[in-house]
């Protein structure tokens, strides 16, 4: 008689309970895998961003306050030998949308000369670099945006800016960006944007943000401390943050979704632990005598311990898989990345998230089975056999 056989018999003995336990395990685990996917995606994105060694310099007062173009040269002058700053790229919010559609694409004008240097992770070919430099109407589009509107490289598109003077400009898609974390935005050339603004009577060029690409982490920390004092007591005081700190401001304002997901994940773990513990206690209580019989016919304490523990772990695993597989499949079939701006759009099922979910389920199974298994191990055979259940 193998452990497997005993296990299967035990699980089949009360099929209703096994089913209900699996279901009440599966549903929260489905929620859990979604929540943890978002957290994993955010952590991964943060790590990717941190590896890019970029600093964001914005107006201390508000992002909408544009900083004058000349500040780029002033920032570059902080490092005349070019040992710490690789490049500085000014960006200005364009906020374009396809005419007669309500949703605004995260679109920004970027400095033509330094954009490919500061955002080099998006993987430029020489030809793409050349068309970016030569074609004033060039734009690079994140693959999610491109998919949503059915654009491909080589297309001509017209976007209407949602900020005054609400220019409707034509662009040429020269590149589709598939690099993780860069798939929801569109970059166009700021010189073309500024020139069109000037024609419309908006004569002061400016940037909402300067991105500094640093050569190493020490340089990044040092520059972060240097930029703000450089502009202190000028009309354009700045606030300098690394890329993750800059993004965190948006996450907070979008309702702190990662925080909510963490809270939900914790509640779910709490719930499944209780559900599993409850089932194991019920089935142990019903089978006290049976376990005593096992011991009486010669099963060692360790083996009985394993039988009880294994049952709990299997229940947890089956329940978890029942929850994880459909959720993961659903998220793969209907990716949320289409939603655009939200932090929610970075939710993608990753192997890590599935791994974490299964690990948590295993852990819950072990913890829930531990107490009944210990009781089974210590079971006083004679007393249990004598007791009338």
């Amino acid at each position: 008689m193998t452990i497997t056989y005993v296990l299967m018999q035990n699980l089949r003995r009360n099929p209703m309970r096994t089913l209900l336990t699996c279901l009440s395990f599966a549903l929260p685990m489905g929620v859990f895998v979604a929540a943890i996917s978002l957290i994993v995606a955010m952590v991964k994105l943060n790590a990717l961003n941190a590896a890019q060694l970029r600093l964001a310099v914005q107006s201390r007062i508000a992002l909408v306050n544009a900083l004058p173009e000349r500040m780029r040269a002033e920032i570059e002058a902080l490092d005349p030998d070019k040992t710490r700053i690789r490049a500085v790229c000014g960006v200005r919010w364009f906020g374009g949308r396809v005419q007669n559609t309500p949703s605004v694409i995260q679109s920004l004008g970027a400095d033509v000369d330094t954009f490919p240097l500061v955002f080099d992770e998006i993987g430029w070919t020489d030809a793409e670099r050349e068309s970016w430099a030569k074609d004033r109407q060039a734009c690079v589009v994140g693959t999610n945006v491109a998919e949503q509107y059915g654009w491909k490289a080589g297309d001509r598109i017209t976007l209407e800016s949602s900020v005054p003077p609400n220019l409707a400009l034509e662009f040429h898609v020269i590149k589709i960006v598939t690099t993780e974390g860069r798939t929801n935005s569109l970059y166009l050339r700021r010189d073309y944007f500024e020139e069109s603004r000037r024609t419309a009577g908006f004569v002061t060029p400016g940037c909402n943000l300067f991105w500094l690409k640093c050569s190493d982490l020490a340089a990044l920390r040092a520059l972060q401390a240097e930029v703000d004092p450089r502009f202190a007591n000028t009309p354009n005081e700045t606030k300098t943050m690394d890329e993750n700190a800059f993004m965190a401001n948006f996450a907070q304002a979008a309702g702190d979704l990662p925080g909510l997901m963490r809270a939900i994940a914790m509640v779910v773990v709490f719930i499944v632990a209780l559900v599993a513990g409850n089932t194991m206690m019920m089935s142990f209580r019903e089978r006290t005598r049976e376990l005593a019989v096992f011991k009486a016919i010669g099963f060692q304490g360790g083996r009985v311990f394993r039988i009880v523990l294994a049952e709990s772990v299997i229940l947890a695993l089956v329940g978890a898989l029942l929850g994880i597989v459909p959720t993961a499949a659903a998220l793969l079939a209907f990716p949320l990345k289409r939603l655009g701006f939200l932090p929610l759009s970075s939710l993608e099922v990753s192997p890590i998230a599935i791994g974490v979910s299964i690990a948590i389920a295993l852990l819950v199974g072990v913890v829930a089975g531990l107490l009944p298994a210990m009781q089974a191990y210590r079971l006083n055979t004679v007393a249990a056999l004598r007791k009338i259940a």
Partner: protein, 394 residues
């Protein structure tokens, strides 16, 4: 005669550990449920205030919000052509309020200033108080000559540096000092998260001569669609939206978020139901002889069925009460303030999540239904107990 309530109540405590675990599962689900319902209710309360059907928000053509709209004084003056605008009965002036909309970053109170929120600053004239009927200054209001601001109650509570007497630095270089002289309420609507200053002073602080947007009040019974169409026409060339439509578009992002919360909560509620069913099956199985006994002394199958339903509902309500208490404690001690971006205003809308009696009632009603549904099959099994066989069992 039905089974007495005390019988079921005492039964819940026969298996203390199982009951306790089930109650905790339900409490966790109900606690989360109450929080989400509270969140949605808080948001809806704020937005429902901002849906005056007689108020039109005027933006530049192509603008999506007051943040990214600009209207020149000439364009603003064209609005006087509109035919259906309400007039002030005292002065006869048309109720059209020119407004400038900007933002400043202020530390959030709830995390001790670790993150900062974009707080809306609105430059207004005395006309604004006639158009935005629900805005009521509490005490002092802005004077037309001094650099003063009044602050919405939510903003004062959630962002630091906005108490009466504080000095707020505004302007491109934050070189203009405005004194906070009073608070205002707006029935809890989005405007309560704003800071209001006198328009010309704010324009001068930011070196502007134009406006961002305008708001106007329609005559009683006027058709908003006709006015909006007139505004879009060649003579005016501005875009208008009713206040309700405007805020609906600003909260579109939040709606998606809300939908996600509903799905999560729904799944967890189902899990709680299965958990109750599981516990009730175990209860019924463990009490087969007792049930047979009840049947023998004259209780009908229906009474036993109802009895177990009742027991399950008691169990669920116990968990529900604990969950509501936990949610209340969380809001009380961890935090009940929240703010969110408008989809394209990019300014924070602050609101308070509160445990109102309505939310408690909804949560308890939900959990009672879950308790009843979870008990249907176990209770039926109890009612169908074969009396003779059960009594004969060892």
């Amino acid at each position: 005669m039905a089974l007495p309530l005390s019988y079921h109540w005492r039964n819940l405590f026969v298996r203390k550990a199982t009951t306790a675990l089930t109650v905790l599962v339900i409490a966790a689900v109900v606690g989360t449920f109450a929080w989400v319902i509270g969140f949605v209710a808080a948001l809806n309360r704020a937005l429902s205030v901002a849906s005056d059907p007689r108020k039109i928000i005027v933006l530049q053509r192509g603008g999506t919000s007051e943040t990214n709209s600009a209207i020149s004084p000439e364009e603003f003056n064209r609005l006087t052509q509109l035919t259906d605008v309400e007039r002030d009965p005292d002065t006869g002036r048309e109720l059209i309020s020119p407004e400038m909309f900007w933002q400043t970053q202020l530390p959030r109170v709830r995390d001790g200033g670790a993150t900062r929120a974009n707080v809306a600053v609105r430059g207004v004239t005395e006309m604004a108080f006639l158009v935005h009927r629900n805005v009521r200054p509490q005490g002092a209001t802005i004077s037309t000559g001094l650099p003063e601001v009044i602050v919405g109650l939510s903003a004062a509570k959630q962002f630091s540096g906005l108490n009466i007497g504080d000095t707020l630095r505004l302007g491109f270089a934050e070189n203009r000092e405005f004194k906070v002289v009073g608070y205002f309420s707006a029935d809890g609507g989005p405007m309560e998260s704003e800071i209001w200053a006198y328009l010309p002073l704010l324009q001068s602080a930011y070196g502007r001569t134009g406006y961002s947007a305008a708001s106007l009040r329609l005559r009683e019974g006027a058709d908003p669609a006709a006015t909006i169409a007139q505004m879009a026409g060649a003579a005016i060339q501005l875009s208008g939206q009713t206040e309700g439509d405007y805020w609906r578009s600003q909260s579109s992002m939040v709606r998606i978020y809300q939908g996600v919360c509903y799905v999560l909560i729904g799944m967890m509620t189902l899990a709680a139901m299965f958990s109750i069913a599981n516990t009730m099956f175990a209860t019924v199985a463990g009490r087969t002889r007792e049930i047979a006994m009840l049947r023998t002394i004259g209780f009908s199958g229906g009474q036993v069925l109802r009895g177990f339903m009742l027991e399950s509902t008691l169990l669920a309500l116990l968990g529900g009460a604990l969950g509501c208490a936990a949610c209340w404690a969380w809001l009380q001690f961890v935090g009940h303030t929240k703010d969110m971006f408008g989809t394209s205003t990019f300014t924070a809308m602050a609101f308070d999540i509160r445990m109102t009696p309505v939310i408690v009632l909804i949560s308890l009603a939900m959990v009672a239904v879950v308790g009843v549904l979870g008990a249907v099959f176990p209770a039926r099994r109890a009612a169908q107990t074969q009396v003779i066989r059960a009594l004969r069992e060892e």
